[in-house]
Amino acid sequence: MAKFAKKKDGDLPAVSTASLPDIVFMLLFFFMTVTTMKDSSIMVENNLPTANQTKKLEKKDRIIYIFAGKPTREYQNVYGTETRIQLNDKFANVGDVGSYILEERAKKPQELQNVLTTALKVDSDANMGLISDIKLELRKVNALKVNYTTSEGDAFNNLN
């Protein structure tokens, strides 16, 4: 009768971790496909305004970014709290926008140079004077396609 030895209770079998790599790899591939590389670190506050009548910017290689907003806290003692423009990784003045656009345009392949869009990523607290100045500069270099980048949401959230 000793053949049917009573199992010791209170001794749980260890959970198999053999499938853990598979799960992690799945997550990894998910993030690799869904996300894109950061190409510049943002040095300005960038709370984009919300809108719901938006269109997607599909092709990343056809976009030139211009950031604007108040410098983040770490830059505030150097650059102050006024709204500033950020081009690539540098703070810039309105006058630099034109040459920046031309420079970026020259970097793109020939066939894309006419279909570029300028994405304005501007903090919702910025004032329109700066935007007008940027738009004027863009018109000077004939970069007429503009996208006011927004985040998804109700437009009424922008009013405070």
Binding site: M128, G129, V146
Partner: protein, 212 residues
Amino acid sequence: MPINNQVPEVNAGSMADIAFLLLIFFLVTTTLETDEGLNRLLPPDQDIPEIVVHERNVFRVQLNDANQLLVEGEVLELADLKHRTTAFLDNGGIIKGAADYCDYCKGDRASDSSDNPHKAIIYLEHTRATSYGTYIAVQNELVAAYNGLRNRESLNAFGEGYVAMEQRFYDEKTTPTEKEILKKQIKQIQGLFPQKIIESNANENNNPHEKI
């Protein structure tokens, strides 16, 4: 001594750690795609010939320093802007029988509002101190008015909303032949309600770059 022919199994215990390391690397260096927004085409930087437009065909939207909204001379809440804009665009005030009579308009046909959607122009004015958020909210409402009207016509003509058609057009899965058809349909609807928004240049107040 017995010879061991079997290749020893590689220990896969650290695989998870390696994968975790990669995962964290990608989490840190990448961002989720958040790029969408309102597309606009700026006017070219050249002298624009003066055009004469009737006052009734112009819908004035003004924003002041305090982000208050003035529409056609009266203070308005942002929530009412879409409704007012739709009424203006859809008015079709020209008398029946005239050459450019708007037969698809469903508005009031008031004589002091726009003649037809082709002539209707929205004139957006703002000051240097207007906040960008408010400006985007107004732009969004104006686009919403156009999209609403285009949706209506598109549903009538093709049984599919305008916004849905546009989405399908930009979808990568759509075949080229389908795209060709969609493009034609989108163009047709856009032709019914062309988007005409003029903005003033905030630098030279009272001197818009496109004269009305």
